[in-house]
Symmetry: C2
Subunit: 315 residues, 2 copies
């Protein structure tokens, strides 16, 4: 168990309040996600079941929670940003389905249940992943064009936000990181490469989650910079913590196989720096994330706690 002293920053309120808030946002997202994929056109088509199976398999919903939390801090109506929050979770979920495939990480379990290809077969799992990525764009564009939806941002800013998410998910973002991660398996890599992988593989979507509200509602530069710094720190922290969990993990809590990184010869923060140093890096990143939010004052309460939560989570 990592012990981080946030209290000396003098701003973090009770973890109880944080938990209540997290659960509130989590429920909002799960409610929205549960109605997003409807089988209207061809109810007998298995693809809808395969998509919903992974999308509704639970999980922390870190990306949409971040997006909603930042929006709330900026006094933005959560309903207005919900399509982007859902899209980010769909993109994250598709990346997990493809990541779990036999040709990739070959995982049988994810979030404590069988992986998509274990239930629906490889071919349908590949297509369910494709479909979720595609649907993320369908959904954002649908909502953007829907005149019955209340929108206090311009069409132009909406397009900017969709484009930002597309870039974060793509070859210069998440996918770029995944490829380098795969290619470097079993090889010695440099610290620079390790940071490239993490910045892109997990960092890009986390950054998009934090930045989308700022893009939609044209936040001023100082605050934008603060959010960028926050997102970089928690993005990297999230991955360092993942590496730590993998090294010391417990299947029951993690819901997936552990110790795989080491056995597959994957370079991680733990393999490069050792466990103790990795924990120290993690602490520094969280401290930086918390400090970067000073500009938002009291309203940053939840996001500061979220940084701590990333470091302390057990799965």
């Amino acid at each position: 168990m990592i012990s981080i002293e946030y209290n000396n920053l003098g701003e973090v309120k009770s973890t109880e309040m944080f938990k209540v808030k997290y659960d509130y946002l989590l429920k909002k997202i799960n409610d929205a996600l549960s109605t997003i994929i409807t089988e209207k056109d061809s109810p007998e088509n298995i693809i809808y079941k395969a998509m919903n199976y992974s999308l509704m398999a639970g999980g922390k919903r870190l990306r949409p929670v971040l997006l909603l939390a930042v929006s709330e801090m900026l006094d933005i109506d959560l309903e207005e940003v919900m399509p982007y929050a859902c899209a980010l979770e769909m993109i994250h979920t598709y990346s997990l389905i493809h990541d779990d495939l036999p040709a990739m990480d070959n995982d049988d379990y994810r979030r404590g249940v069988l992986t998509n290809h274990k239930v629906f077969g490889e071919a349908t799992a590949i297509l369910a992943g494709d479909a979720l990525l595609n649907y993320a764009f369908e959904h954002m564009l649908d909502c953007l064009m829907d005149k019955s939806r209340n929108k206090s941002y311009s069409l132009e800013d909406g397009v900017k936000a969709v484009s930002y998410i597309a870039k974060a998910a793509g070859v210069n973002g998440m996918i770029g990181g995944q490829v380098v991660d795969i290619e470097s398996e079993g090889k010695e890599i440099t610290l620079e490469q390790l940071e490239y992988i993490h910045k892109h593989k997990t960092g890009a979507l986390i950054k998009a989650s934090v930045m989308v509200p700022a893009i939609l509602f044209s936040l001023d530069e100082d605050k934008k910079n603060a959010l960028e710094r926050y997102s970089s720190s928690i993005g990297l922290a999230f991955q360092v913590k993942d590496d730590i969990l993998d090294a010391e993990g417990d299947f029951k809590l993690l819901g997936k196989s552990t110790g795989k990184d080491a056995s597959s010869g994957k370079s991680t923060f733990v393999s490069m720096y050792g466990l103790e140093n990795s924990r120290e890096i993690l602490n520094k990143l969280i401290k930086d994330a918390v400090e970067s939010l000073q500009i938002f004052g009291e309203k940053a309460f939840f996001l500061k706690n979220l940084a701590a939560y990333i470091a302390e989570r057990k799965n």
Copy 2:
């Protein structure tokens, strides 16, 4: 060899003129595609090579050719619609990469060269497919926001076009058809199911190729309906022809393994109707496609010939 008598429609000009025009549009598209994926961010990342390998492996470029040909008929500047033409080809290419995977059709050759996973490995091929789908959206959105690009359509109509393509590619379009196709392998299927597969798997993207110019430049209803009828007919014709080619095909011309449908127990037009009846269906579809374009007069010359080309192609 199928013999179709178009001359009795009294409108089809020389096939030579058609060929020159096709090659002209093909070159335009290949030029645009060849510069689309740049390795600016991380030149050492293999993903760019994997994406470009399949994107530049040649092929008929039927979808972008259709989009440009319809645009030309409607007197639209081709540069304005090029991003959508390229996006459709990227989406088509990603679907082929995933389709060829061992877990799907398990093909070693495509367009006469080794399939993506045979060259780059399965993991990278899966990600290259994902990346091309994602990049199709990145590219369209980038061009839509680029104020230095000449655009005589509104931002709203641009978003409508991107959304139309997204739906055509997605779970209620191409992917929906692919899943039913896979699920029905080795099973008896109804004619209705066969038509569902074709309408979605190939028809949806072909329809989008024809309709995008009409959406961008708000064509009147009569002409829109004519284009819809044309696209439905050639979309289905394309698939019927594919089934015929597969049944009688020649590896050298097709650039991929043939007779696979029969050996894998896949239901096709040929397996359901026989070869002769399939040819008759094809002829009727082409005739309908040609007739549907009467409203455009002489200007429809190329698109009418394109319908005939679909029926007569040898690969």
